[in-house]
């Protein structure tokens, strides 16, 4: 179980590392890509029709081929979202209206499957566009959309910080495990885990301060006083038109 905890933490760190990639010459304008990613993810999440999320998943795969993105990279965050939604939607399937009767109902299963589909589609389309533009351009895109500087920094910092923090947590869990004796009682084990959680909170603060300094030390233009200008090309226009058509399809 403890090994599973570490494996899950490492997997999540690796998934965030995927978003932590770079692309110095993306096909799309960063602001257009971020805006489309947000609109399409929103559309997938709130769609009432099955076709829209299904189409978005297919569009993501097509985009992966067009943008020459390694499918293995893209699939990881999508599968994680899928699994997380399966867990979240499990009560819908297992606990029908009358919670005492463990008898699945077809309508509930359909609802759960639709929820899983929408969440997976939202993650698929959002991830493909973000992987394509990369970390630096994501920040430039967010700035281009005139979002508050603090918000842009928080997003950028989180993508860098969460994998570092999760790996630190893994080390701490491993260090605790190394000193755990066989036949540990549950009560003692819980106390130990609580101590790890407290230590993690304190360390995370220290680590975030250090990472902030490390980021600042090599930041020359990431947060300039005026947003960087990126021209809008044909691909951007096509992406915007497709986004508008998908939103319209959802509304119809």
């Amino acid at each position: 179980m403890r090994r599973l905890t570490r494996a899950v933490l490492e997997e999540i760190a690796e998934i965030l590392d995927i978003l932590n990639s770079e692309n110095s010459s993306p096909v799309f304008n960063p602001s257009v890509a971020v805006l489309s990613a947000l609109i399409l993810a929103f559309t997938a999440s709130f769609s009432q029709k099955t076709l829209v999320p299904l189409f978005l998943i297919l569009a993501s795969v097509a985009m992966a081929f067009f943008l020459e993105i390694d499918l293995k990279l893209w699939i990881k965050p999508v599968v994680l979202t899928f699994l997380a939604t399966v867990v979240i939607s499990a009560p819908l399937i297992l606990l029908p209206e009358n919670a005492f009767l463990f008898k699945p109902e077809i309508s509930r299963i359909e609802e759960a499957l639709f929820l899983i589909l929408r969440a997976t589609a939202a993650s698929a389309i959002f991830t493909i566009l973000i992987i394509h533009i990369g970390w630096t351009k994501l920040l430039e895109g967010l700035r281009g959309l005139c979002l508050p500087e603090e918000f842009v920094f928080l997003i950028g910092f989180s993508i860098k910080y969460i994998p570092v923090f999760l790996r630190d947590t893994c080390k701490l869990v491993a260090a605790k495990e190394a000193r755990m004796l066989k036949g540990l009682k549950y009560k003692t084990a819980w106390r130990s885990m609580a101590a790890v959680a407290g230590e993690i909170l304190l360390r995370s603060y220290e680590k975030s301060l250090k990472l902030h300094l490390a980021l600042n030390a090599r930041m020359f233009y990431i947060f300039p006083s005026t947003p960087l200008k990126h021209s809008i090309n044909t691909y951007d226009v096509v992406l915007l038109i497709c986004t508008a058509l998908i939103v319209a399809a959802m509304m119809l």
């Binding site: 590392d17 995927i18 932590n20 990639s21 770079e22 110095s24 010459s25 630096t136 860098k160 910080y161 994998p163 570092v164 790996r167 680590k207 250090k210 990472l211 300094l213 490390a214 980021l215 600042n216 030390a217 090599r218 930041m219 020359f220 233009y221 990431i222 947060f223």
Partner: protein, 272 residues
């Protein structure tokens, strides 16, 4: 005299009231290797963080090339490189390549040029075979080299190294020394914070001794590193070679600081 960096009478306290610096100062000329030494917790790292503009002093001034550093930020960061003591605090990218290319990507260079420069520095530091690997799976020595490469790749004029030899093998320490001498040959200024006096004796021109946030002595490396009284104030002792030579030779003689100097002195004695 042209100083690239002047840290003048700086005071700094961390939140919670821990006083790290009490009127510390430091000056570095272009092309000079300056060492800051002192016991653990004396304020060496804080002084480097202030010198790089990452921390703002509570009192005092930092001049970079004759102009206040805070007025030149963030652009001046292109000219200053800081290598942290613990590489895990500095490395935050998913691959070694991305880590080294991080600063170059902000300079809006073409990907081909970035690749060329990354490969060049990686080859120079002997880490070209690990460019695709995730940094968290590397050894400490490799991580230190990656951290160093990520700074040297954008060719800063002022390089600040915090405990560059801590926990490193003999071979890697030699490589770090070679890199420092190369940087000096290229006319760059290097400031090293270290409590390894043997290492300082081999690389530094000028030494500042820090104790409890104050500079208790500074001057030419030979003079400072042979001043037993001054060093003892900072819980340090002269380099091992100097202590061995002290036992072998008359104290009046200029004592050797490095192995090469000791060998030379012994050769002369042999010929006599």
């Amino acid at each position: 005299m042209t100083y690239i960096l002047e840290v003048l009478d700086v005071h700094f306290s961390y939140p919670g009231g821990v006083v790290a610096l009490r009127g510390a100062f430091l000056k570095a000329r272009k092309g000079e290797v300056v060492a800051i030494t002192g016991p653990n917790g004396c304020g060496k790292t804080t002084l480097l963080l202030i010198a790089s503009g990452l921390l703002k002093p509570d009192k005092g001034r930092v001049l970079f090339d004759g102009t206040p550093l805070d007025e030149q930020l963030p652009q001046a960061r292109k000219r200053i490189g800081l290598v942290f003591q613990n590489p895990d605090d500095q490395i935050f990218n998913s691959t070694v390549y991305d880590e080294i290319a991080f600063a170059l990507r902000q300079l809006e260079l073409k990907e081909e040029e970035i690749a060329e420069r990354v490969e060049e520095i990686a080859e120079k530091l002997g880490i070209d075979s690990i460019l695709k690997r995730p940094p968290y799976r590397l050894s400490l020595g490799e991580k230190k080299k990656v951290a160093l490469a990520s700074i040297l790749v954008y060719e800063p004029e002022l390089v600040l190294l915090d405990e560059p030899t801590a926990n490193l093998s003999y071979k890697t320490v030699n490589e770090v020394e070679y890199i420092i001498s190369e940087l000096q040959r290229e006319g760059k200024t290097v400031i090293v914070a270290s409590h390894d006096v043997n290492f300082i004796a081999r690389v530094a021109d000028t030494v500042y001794v820090l104790s409890a946030g104050r500079v208790v002595g500074f001057g030419e490396a030979r003079k400072i590193l042979l001043d037993r009284d001054l060093l003892s104030k900072a819980e340090l002792a002269p380099p091992l070679i100097a202590r061995v030579a002290e036992l072998l030779f008359d104290k009046e003689n200029p004592l050797p600081l490095t192995l090469e100097e000791l060998a030379e002195k012994l050769q002369k004695l042999k010929h006599k």
